[in-house]
Amino acid sequence: MIPAPVKHKFLTPGVFVLIIIALNGLVFLALRFIFGIGSVTNLDDVTPWGLWIGVDVAAGVALAAGGFTSAALGHVMHREEYKIIVRPALLTAMLGYTFVAFAVFTDIGRFYYIWHPLIMWNGNSALFEVGICVMIYLTVLYIEFLPLVTERFVGRVNLPDTFAFLNRPIDKTLRYLDSRLSITMFIFIIAGVVLSTLHQSSLGTLMIIAGQKMHPLWQTPILPLLFLLSAIAVGFPMVIFESLIASRSFKMKPEMHVLSRLGGMISPIIGIYLAFKIGDVFIRETFKYILVFDSTSWMFISEMGLMFAAFFLFLSRKITNSPLGLFIASSLVIAGVLLNRINNFIVAYQPYYNPVRYFPSVGEISVTLGCIALLVLAYRAVVMIFPVISREKRDIIKNI
């Protein structure tokens, strides 16, 4: 098994649909930058954070956790058999965090001051910690991706005539980078895991300061722990989910020998998460809010239900050995964690003065969907240019 660029047509009907969704999002994005946040969102003084923070940022960071969990498995623990998932997971994380950074850029009112936290520090602020960690981690991810660039282009730099004189210097730079990176990469890999642990949990600390404005079902001092555990829990399901979609889209055989074993590791992690979540409900005696059965309590029940269903599905050998079973079970975890982030940042935020319940506007939803579409398109483009996805040697030769 070696990684190689995927040879496939870029444009398909599905890709066209994605392009349209992306363009629609870009239109609303333009409006936001011309007329302000109020012109496209339903945000107001009562609800200052909505879909863009809840989904694009919070859920985005969680769903990109596959990057650090698989780096820990493949690189830190040197589990060779899982090496083939490390690169796709790295790409997901790299694009995912780029998307998160862009979402932050879109959501903050003074986007041109996005660099301020670099020099204006507030060590008491959870948001400051998240911001700094995400900035550094994004840089680390790009560094971790560099070997794929050198691997692809060393000895193969071939710019068109006008720029041909740059071929030699670029090649030299790439070779130099390659030699340096192979010695120092372990520093970045470990840094990536540490940074992820830090900001995944601090993302949970964010809403703690909202205090009584946050519904007691979610407002708990162990939020950072719950966020970290759920991020770890969703890491591998996301890797499986993407691998299965990529195989399908590029007409390749799914990597079941790796994915099944990966699937076997998921239940214990979800189990630990659920144990803390349930323990929290009992220790803080919040079950009375679950039994109210209003819309808020149903959101909590749904979030828990999805995770429980996934927990039991992943326990079954039959499920983890079938592509469809794996796909369904992984989707449940992804949906569960996505819903958890939406609940924490949007549903649970119920301030004292709250005349109108927030629901995202068409503009907000369009921008979010547009960004996701762009992300998928970028993923598709990158795996067709760089050696990300691994296949059997004979398949690669056959395809060429």
Binding site: F35, G36, P48, M77, W121, I190, P221, P351
Partner: protein
């Protein structure tokens, strides 16, 4: 305390976070003994809204003529501050006397331990020694985390501005006061509904008033100890819940978020420890892998390992 203990045990399990959770937070900056505040006596307020006008004028916000502020029809619905106002007065039905409605002015409470100061990503908020909580436009990035954090839902934001939107809230007229003047609202108030003074002194006055006229006031000084105390405090004859003042706990507004932050980051010990642990793990597993590979390649050295 059960909560905190639970958190500690839980966090210790993952990232040794409990290491420094006792460390005092940075926003514990020493406050002056002479720090000031305002005591709002809703029994004395007649709802003339002159304070609204004075506030707008003092802060260069668009305001019509003072006479227009006598219009009481605005009281038909509950109002909040917005991008054009830093304070508003609302009218409530008086339970004691239906003919005499209660008027309540609201604005930033200038917390003793402000959540906005703790939360702000760039430290754009500052709790001044004299008690005022002020915002620095030069730092703000417009993330609106202060609005998420504020227990009184005070800061407002310019949602319809693409460039340089402002966070707005009462600044306790720091400029006026630095020039020896009273806050604009206090200055114009015709009825001594707003009493400006040292916070300590105000608490004493409030207690006296409540004690002396126990039939006119309920025994609750709102802001004396809510969220760790606020610079602006209220006394009233009506229950504060009825006046739509949020019922808040007595622990400081930033809550445990600062302890968690400082626990995870205690002098960078936990992150560095985690880094070292992972490094060791990486090195050990690499060696084991290399040994297995060597043995697998028919290496007959027969040393330890391999199994």
């Amino acid at each position: 305390m059960k909560r905190r203990d639970f958190f500690k045990t839980a966090a210790a399990g993952v990232s040794i976070a409990a290491l420094g959770s006792g460390k005092a937070a940075g926003s514990d900056k020493k406050l002056s003994e002479d720090r000031v505040g305002v005591l709002v006596d809703t029994n004395a307020c007649v709802g003339c809204r002159h304070c609204e006008w004075a506030c707008k004028t003092a802060h260069q916000l668009p305001a019509s003529d003072l006479e227009n502020f006598n219009d009481s029809s605005v009281f038909s619905e509950y109002r909040r501050m917005d991008a054009g106002s830093l304070t508003v007065v609302n009218e409530f039905e008086n339970e004691e006397n239906k003919l005499l409605p209660v008027h309540v002015k609201i604005q930033c409470m200038h917390c003793e331990r402000p959540a906005c100061v703790s939360a702000c990503i760039v430290g754009a908020f500052e709790k001044r020694e004299d008690g005022a909580v002020v915002w620095d436009s030069g730092k703000c990035i417009g993330c609106r985390y202060c609005m998420v954090a504020c227990p009184f839902q005070i800061p407002t934001y310019d949602y319809d501005k693409a460039i340089q939107p402002m966070i707005r809230k009462c600044d306790f007229c720091v400029e006026r006061r630095d020039n020896g003047m009273l806050p604009a609202c206090v200055d114009i108030c015709p009825n001594e509904a707003l009493i400006f003074g040292k916070r300590e002194e105000l608490v004493r006055i409030a207690r006296q008033k409540v004690k002396r006229k126990s039939d006119a006031y309920i025994n609750h000084i709102y802001g004396e100890s809510e969220v760790g105390g606020t610079s602006w405090m209220y006394i009233s004859g009506n229950d504060f819940g009825k006046l739509r003042m949020p019922p808040l706990a007595l622990n400081p507004a930033p809550g445990i978020s600062e302890s968690i932050q400082h626990g995870i980051f205690a002098y960078f010990v936990p992150p560095v420890t985690l880094y070292a642990l992972l490094g060791v793990m990486m090195w050990v597993t690499k060696r084991r892998k290399d040994e297995i590979n060597n043995n697998g390649n028919g290496n007959q050295d027969g040393k330890e390992g391999g199994k």
